[in-house]
């Protein structure tokens, strides 16, 4: 399956889904004009990939410094897909990078943790602003 790579723009994150290596990364800022459109393709490809995974070990790295409300909604459905895949017998680790004093990110991470308990959630507090 072909990897998915979108370069970052000022208002959308870098998407680097290396399906071959089972490593999926999102990095940057996320407030595209139309989050449903931006994430639509990302989530469709993710679901396609996860559907074909059996007993895979998948690492997901999310290092978003900011995401707007509509991106939040899309991220939530992305994590929903990951959770399903974890319930289906895959091992999924989500590395959640957030700034040490970013309450909102931390709380959102905790929300994810509470809702989606099938994957492993690892919170990383960073200090580079």
């Amino acid at each position: 399956m072909q990897n998915l790579l979108f370069a970052a723009t000022p208002t959308s994150p870098e998407v680097n889904f290396d399906f071959e290596r089972h490593t999926l990364s999102l990095r940057g800022e996320s407030y595209p004009e139309n989050a449903a459109m931006f994430y639509g393709e990302v989530i469709a490809r993710l679901r396609e990939y996860l559907g074909a995974c059996t007993s895979a070990s998948v690492t997901v790295n999310v290092a978003l410094t900011y995401f707007n409300s509509s991106s939040t909604k899309m991220l939530f459905s992305m994590f929903d897909a990951l959770n399903e895949a974890a319930q289906n017998g895959n091992r999924i680790v989500l590395n959640w990078f957030h700034d040490v004093d970013d309450e909102t990110m931390l709380e959102f991470g905790q929300e994810l943790h509470a809702d989606f308990d099938a994957f492993e959630f690892v919170s990383h507090a960073t200090t580079n602003g």
Binding site: P10, E33, N68
Partner: protein, 189 residues
């Protein structure tokens, strides 16, 4: 040659802005590129002002929600209603300092038909505690996206969560036959 009248007018505008401690103001058409550039300007201002990271993030977040509301919902549009990206719509945003707090304001025209819906969405938020707002946020996050919403129904909740006082809003009639009202929204952070 200088034009004295223009100088005086601009001086007056400049003085009012200074008196009200306006640190950012934009009125005109909003595009996604313009929002990205404004976000840069606002971030730079906030960083230079030495404001703490928590407040800076809340301000930035509410600023983006306001700017994107304009791009999604202003009834003064240069692009077709059906177009779902690269829109150009008119409005204004303003950030000023009031009694040591930041005040974010935005305005854009809305069709009269949307006024009741906006009121029904915003008014309950004004009477909720922070805990209730967070709870409503969580529920909305898990719910289906409402019809007609281009965001996720989370925008106002995000602002209400970040604000330190209830959101304020008002509608002013624009002209007898315009079919629109000017929508104003204020968040104190």
């Amino acid at each position: 040659m200088t034009n004295a009248a223009t100088d005086v007018d601009y001086q007056a505008f400049f003085d009012i802005a200074r008196k009200h401690k306006v640190i950012f103001y934009y009125v005109g058409y909003f595009s996604q590129n313009i929002i990205a550039a404004m976000s840069d300007a606002v971030r730079l201002q906030l960083t230079a002002s030495g404001i703490d990271g928590v407040k800076r993030r809340k301000l930035f977040s509410s600023f983006v929600e306001m700017a994107q509301n304009i791009i999604h919902y202003s009834s003064d549009s240069l692009t077709a209603e059906s177009q779902d990206n690269n829109q150009l719509r008119h409005g204004s945003v303003c950030i000023s300092l009031v009694d040591g707090q930041y005040r974010l304001m935005c305005s854009n025209p809305v069709d009269n038909s949307r006024v009741d819906h906006l009121r029904e969405t915003l008014e309950p938020l004004r009477h909720m505690t922070l805990e209730e707002i967070k709870h409503a946020y969580k529920e909305t996050l898990r719910a289906e996206t409402p019809e007609h919403s281009k965001g996720a129904g989370l925008g106002f909740l995000t602002m209400a969560r970040d604000a330190s006082a209830p959101l304020e809003y008002s509608f002013l009639p624009i002209g007898a036959d315009s079919g629109s009202a000017m929508f104003f929204l204020t968040a104190i952070i």
